[in-house]
């Protein structure tokens, strides 16, 4: 009796997952880009010789779920396996090959054992800068958005491509950091490659193919088993967002078949002239993520588990934009795609799907200095110290069929907020408020998560600019099963003067910017919410006393306790009405 084959393979599978998790961890520790280290905006994975993804690290942003998986076959098509040598590394940031905008660089490295290639490691990481206009929606084509690196050699047989590195350094604002990050991908992929070789030695395996086939079969079968638990049929959802300067309509039809889930975005709006467009890879990634949150969430990502989810979108639409349309701020649309998917699934399995939430992150991207002040310096138009700073803020997530939505918590992004104290150390600004936004959640048996309010100004009161990339200012997160809609966001001065939700704008001297982030929608009938929970929300100052009566039919006594009799009465009257 030797170790049972299945157990041996599962040990190797866990080892591969451990290797790619370590690869991802190493990348986060050394990264200069804030979204990589705070948000895990990267991916890391191992591929077999046919370019099939065998294992992938679980990292912070779903945008990478399978976009890297789609990239590796492109490299194999461009650079034949037979010509690859030990020490070769390949690079690209082509948005249409990898993950949807120029800021993400993908590096693919073949692994050799006894002179023979056995597989690949790849990683995709966000860069602190890629030249061009900076990361925002204002570019009119990808050519304005930065340096474009087609698939090419980053190193040949261990020798770095010096010409390419020089080109990169010359085109970005922080050349040392970008170069340092890119070179660290080589080191990390190589370290992971050595682990793979050792694993094959330890378990006496020749290559990855047999193991990969086993992993794919296991994963795919598990996915199909999950799909078969769902009611077959086609479920549609329509979703309208604020967009850059006009509403964006997203339509999706999700078909639950016998052994696949097919998503079709036919009927979605055409691409925008602004950089909020999504390439197909990125659309697939966020759509697959939305589906996988419900269907087989604990099945690891690989070619087998991703295969049963098929995503199509019309060419030229905002979710399958063609070259050279601008794509830099594609997350503004992309982060809503999981909610679009959940909306479809809610029609199939209404008791399992949360209500809609704020979805898109509200990053406060601020700039100070001479470029902000218009015209000659005066008391009201004085020039402050130059700075660039960005901090993340999250609205509320939707109420769930079994629990309230989460207050001020990112979904679908996995971003972690930066501490106000750290932000204030990095730039001459003061965050005067960063607190839950009372009364922003949609009522429900399970209410939405609350949004938050952020107020920020400069230390010396000098004017400053901000890059707005916010949605859900006109539209609202929608409730489910009788739950109320959440509250839309607001972008204004602390004194209440409104700003646009998209584009670069200036906050005048001695004024503060106030961002009021959307609250999540509610799930289920608010009249079914236990009165004690409503009373607790009132006593915690999360909802107003009036709202308890108005939205939930809960009457409170003077001391804040539930007036049981009056509540039963009021709720009965409401139900009849």
């Amino acid at each position: 009796m030797s170790m049972h084959d299945d157990i041996r393979r599962q040990l190797m599978w866990s080892r591969l997952i451990a290797v790619v998790e370590e690869q991802a961890r190493m990348l986060m520790l050394t990264a200069f880009s804030a979204t990589v280290r705070e948000a895990g905006d990267l991916s890391a994975g191992v591929f077999d010789l046919r370019g099939r993804m065998v294992a992938q690290a679980i990292t912070g942003t779903p945008g990478h779920v399978n976009s890297m998986a789609e990239a590796v076959p492109h490299f194999l098509a461009e650079f034949p396996l037979a010509e690859m040598r030990d020490g070769d590394h390949f690079i690209t940031n082509d948005p249409w090959i990898a993950s949807g905008h120029l800021h993400d660089i993908t590096v693919v490295s073949p692994v050799f054992r006894a002179g023979r290639p056995i597989g690949f490691f790849a990683c995709t990481c966000h860069q602190v800068d890629i030249g061009g206009m900076g990361q925002g929606p204002d570019g009119r084509s990808v050519f304005e958005e930065g340096l474009y690196i087609p698939p090419m050699h980053l190193a040949r047989a261990g020798a770095p491509n010096g010409d390419l590195l020089r080109m990169i350094r010359a085109n970005v604002r922080q050349p040392r950091m970008v170069e340092g990050d890119v070179l660290s991908y080589v080191t990390t992929n190589e370290a992971a490659g050595r682990r793979l070789v050792k694993m094959l030695d330890e378990f006496g395996e020749d290559g990855l193919e047999t193991l990969a086939d086993w992993i794919f079969a296991r994963s795919k079968n598990a996915m199909i088993a999950e799909i078969r638990k769902l009611p077959a049929g086609t479920y549609e959802n329509e979703f309208v967002l604020d967009g850059y300067d006009r509403p964006v309509k997203l339509r999706a039809a999700l078909t639950i078949g016998d052994d696949a889930i097919t998503v079709d975005y036919a009927g979605s709006d055409p691409a925008s002239p602004h950089g909020i467009n999504v390439v197909l890879n990125y659309c697939k990634a966020y759509s697959a993520f939305g589906v996988r949150c419900v269907v087989g969430p604990r099945i690891p990502n690989n070619a087998g588990s991703l295969a049963p989810i098929v995503v199509r979108a019309p060419e030229g639409s905002i979710v399958n934009v063609k070259h050279p349309w601008p794509v830099s701020a594609r997350h503004v649309i992309g982060q809503f795609l999981p909610d679009v998917m959940l909306g479809c699934l809610a029609k199939a399995i209404p008791e399992r799907i949360p209500a809609e939430g704020a979805a898109c992150l509200w990053g406060a991207q601020l700039r100070g200095g001479p470029s902000v002040a218009a015209g000659a310096p005066t008391q009201s138009n004085r020039i402050g110290e130059p700075f660039e700073v960005m901090f993340f803020n999250s609205g509320g997530s939707g109420g769930r069929p079994f629990a309230d939505g989460m207050n001020a918590t990112a979904f679908p992004s996995g971003v972690r907020a930066l501490p106000a104290e750290v932000v204030e150390t990095a730039a001459p600004i003061v965050i005067w408020k960063k607190e839950l936004r009372a009364d922003s959640a949609g009522a429900g048996r399970y209410r939405g998560g609350l949004g938050q309010t952020v107020e920020v100004g400069t230390v010396d009161g000098a004017p400053f600019a901000f890059f707005a990339m916010f949605d859900r200012v006109k539209s609202k997160p929608r409730g489910r099963r009788g739950g109320a809609d959440g509250t839309s966001g607001k972008v204004e001065t602390a004194a209440g003067k409104s700003f646009r939700a998209m584009g670069l704008q200036t906050v005048p001297a001695d004024e503060r910017l106030r961002l009021s982030l959307p609250g999540g929608a509610g799930w289920g009938d608010p009249l079914a919410r236990p009165p004690a929970r409503v009373a607790a929300d009132v006593s915690d100052g999360l909802i107003a006393r009036e709202a308890a009566e108005r939205d939930y039919g809960v009457v409170l006594a003077a001391d804040g306790a539930v007036d049981e009799a009056a509540t039963v009465n009021l709720r009965a009257r409401r139900r009849q009405a």
Partner: protein, 693 residues
């Protein structure tokens, strides 16, 4: 002149371990923990151990205590009624946290509930800037109103947490003073004293936790001191800290949050002591008990420590699902893998082990106490690693038939394999999980594995150490005696030590020697005062550390700083030290990028007064096996008859070639094929892997 005895007491979930050492003699005892009144088990155990040693209370010179009291109060949410007073605009810092989800795909996660509910969080107008400058004066009237509200709410303990208070404690100190008038009986914890470091969520969370446990910690510790005195113990009572040192009662009462997780820290202190004793520069400490396994890095006989710790992960062991505590702590990874960990089949039809544990009641199936699911101990038994009548010194008779039935019936049936194959699978899966956790942890600490010695203790570790070493490519394993009470022994080996950490921001390109000198001097003064009080006249050592990173990175590395006052020219020395540390961790440097220091720490220590009891070497000679057993190798599946030796019968130097077993009361060491075992001059079992080229 008779040397005084020292006693270590470790309260664990099931047992309270008590170890007494005096000269060459060691006595240990396990008594059942008494959760309702933990001091009862302590007093019983201490009484029993001095009786066993034939001593009187007056013969004891020191009691060192580690307790789960703080941990339990936080987990069970049984702390004091606590309020927060904070900066207006930041009432929800404790609740918003990092604004993220710790599990990407799970829509059902629940984030940890803050220790202080919103209705007890009060905001007052005041604001400091990042440099500690006053942007908005503290509003005294609002403070007075808050005081009235706190008194009305019947608050027993108050956390005062203002933004940027690490840079200027004035507002927090003033608030404490004013609020104390309204609440004369309440305890106060202020963030500029508990955790003076930047990052408001972590600092507030730590201060809130300290405030939450302070009243009960004070009651318990003073009570225990009184009862020990009443029983005739006139000696001081010291406490084990999560940072790996011990401290006196007064410091523990002031900062009880530093007592959290002292048990695991004690285990690592034992590994550090052994490393020093044996001159091992690079060690991996591996502690595997009934429920979890803990792995830590020990370099140059100093445990790797971290400035922060995440407590009470609500979602299994998932990072981010607990409360952050800025507490100096031994950096270790803990995973749900122990002798009681239960095997199951996961959602993909794969064999999984843990984190659910059968605990000690009912325990693994082989305990015969009603457990039916196969646990790791059942697998170890079925593989022949444990003699059923010698487990736990013969106190628990293991039932092989029950183990086999559980293995064959549960996971075995699901995978269509027999009991032996299931046992082999369980052993491999749990060893793989521990090896993967160890590897990831070592990377996270910025260290590497090759060349390390594994020091294995805890009841289950010696059974699994050899296979884990193979997976980690470690060639040397050391197994001390007394595996079952490792933490309590570690308390006796831990130095009196205290660590002070503060946020100090300096860029090397604009090196401010004066600022660093001021900060280091103040921290050193605080740490020396605390250690001097507990260490008496014994010599103290001091280490200074700067936490540094490339400008723009988010993760710092620890860089040693010279003790002498820094001069402008010191920048170059510190940069060199940074380069060395960065290169050692990541293999290469970033030319032309500036380096920043974000925090500094001072660690003052005074080595433990007593060394380990000397090992009485026995006559050399070929060891005779006490028995022969069939042992199954999990990877090949081959069974072979191997000799079993009793540890106490081994002679120093005599080598045993694997496969073999070495049995003692607390555990059994598996000497796998390819290893040679010998007893070294300290009485430790040393396993060396015979490398085949």
């Amino acid at each position: 002149m008779s040397e005084k005895a020292r006693i270590g007491v470790d309260i664990g979930g099931t047992f309270t371990d008590v170890v007494l050492e005096r000269g060459a003699a060691r006595h240990s005892i396990k008594v059942l923990t008494t959760p309702a009144e933990p001091e009862r088990a302590v007093l019983d155990g201490v009484g029993a151990v001095i009786a066993a040693a034939g001593l009187a209370p007056s013969d004891v010179g020191l009691v060192i205590h580690g307790t789960t009291l703080i941990t339990n109060a936080l987990i069970e949410r049984k702390g004091a009624r606590t309020a927060l007073v904070t900066t207006e605009g930041f009432r929800d810092v404790l609740e918003m946290g990092t604004e993220s989800r710790f599990e990407q795909y799970d829509l059902a996660i629940e984030k940890p509930v803050p220790l202080i509910p919103r209705r007890l969080r009060f905001a007052v107008p005041e604001r400091l800037g990042a440099k500690g400058d006053v942007l908005l004066a503290l509003d005294e009237a609002a403070l007075a109103r808050a005081g009235t509200a706190l008194a009305e709410a019947g608050v027993e303990s108050v956390a005062v947490c203002f933004l940027h208070a690490y840079a200027n404690p004035a507002h927090e100190q003033r608030a404490r003073e004013a609020l104390a008038k309204a609440l004369p009986r309440a305890s106060f914890s202020i963030s500029s004293e508990v955790a003076p470091e930047i990052r408001e969520y972590e600092r507030f969370s730590t201060t809130a936790a300290n405030a939450y446990v302070q009243p009960i910690a004070e009651r318990y510790l003073r009570d225990l001191e009184r009862k020990l005195a009443a029983a005739g113990f006139a000696c001081p009572l010291f406490l084990m800290l999560s940072g790996g040192g011990i401290t006196d009662l007064e410091t523990a009462v002031r900062f009880p949050i530093r007592l959290i997780e002292s048990g695991p820290a004690g285990g690592v202190a034992l590994a550090a002591h052994i490393a020093r004793q044996c001159g091992l520069a690079r060690v991996l400490s591996f502690d595997m008990g009934g429920t979890t396994a803990k792995i830590a890095v020990v370099d140059d006989a100093v445990p790797q420590t971290a400035r922060a710790f995440e407590f009470g992960r609500v979602f299994r062991f998932k990072k981010g699902s607990g409360l952050p505590l800025k507490v100096p702590s031994v950096e270790l990874v803990e995973i749900g893998a122990g002798g009681g960990s239960i095997a199951s089949i996961d959602h993909l039809g794969r064999l999984a082990v843990g984190p659910e544990s059968a605990g000690s009641d009912p325990g693994p199936a082989c305990y015969g106490r009603g457990g039916t699911a196969a646990a790791v101990t059942d697998a170890d038994l079925a593989l022949g690693r444990i003699r059923p009548d010698a487990f736990a010194g013969g106190r628990i008779r293991l039932d092989e038939a029950r183990a086999e039935a559980a293995l064959a019936g549960g996971v075995g049936k699901a995978l269509a394999i027999d009991a032996k194959a299931a046992a082999a699978g369980i052993a491999e899966v749990v060893d793989e999980a521990m090896a993967n956790a160890a590897r990831e942890h070592v990377i996270e600490c910025g260290k590497s594995l090759p060349g390390r010695t594994l020091i294995a203790f805890g009841g289950a570790a010696p059974l699994h150490a050899a296979r884990i070493a193979e997976k980690l490519e470690i060639d040397r394993i050391l197994i001390p005696a007394g595996a079952g009470v490792g933490s309590a022994i570690g308390f006796l080996r831990a130095p009196v030590a205290y660590e002070v950490t503060r946020s100090v921001y300096v860029r090397l390109s604009r090196f401010d020697a004066a600022a660093l000198n001021r900060a280091f001097a103040a921290m050193a003064e605080e740490a020396h005062a605390i250690v001097a009080r507990a260490a008496g006249g014994r010599p103290r050592t001091e280490r200074r550390i700067a936490y540094m990173r490339y400008l723009g990175q988010g993760h710092e590395i620890a860089v040693p700083v010279p003790l002498a006052a820094l001069a402008p020219a010191s920048a170059a020395i510190i940069r060199d030290a940074y380069d060395d540390a960065y290169r050692a961790q990541y293999g290469r440097l970033m030319d032309g990028v500036d380096v920043e220091c974000v925090a500094c720490a001072v660690v003052v220590a005074s080595e433990a007064a007593a060394a380990a009891p000397p090992f009485a070497a026995r006559d050399a000679g070929a060891p005779a096996p006490a028995a022969r057993r069939m042992l199954i190798d999990p990877l090949s599946g081959r069974a072979s008859e191997v000799p079993l030796y009793r540890r106490e019968a081994l002679a120093s130097g005599a080598a045993i070639a694997g496969p073999a077993l070495i049995e003692e009361d607390d555990t059994t060491t598996v000497v796998a094929a390819g290893f040679r075992a010998a007893l070294d001059s300290n009485g430790y079992i040393v396993l060396e892997r015979e490398r085949t080229p």
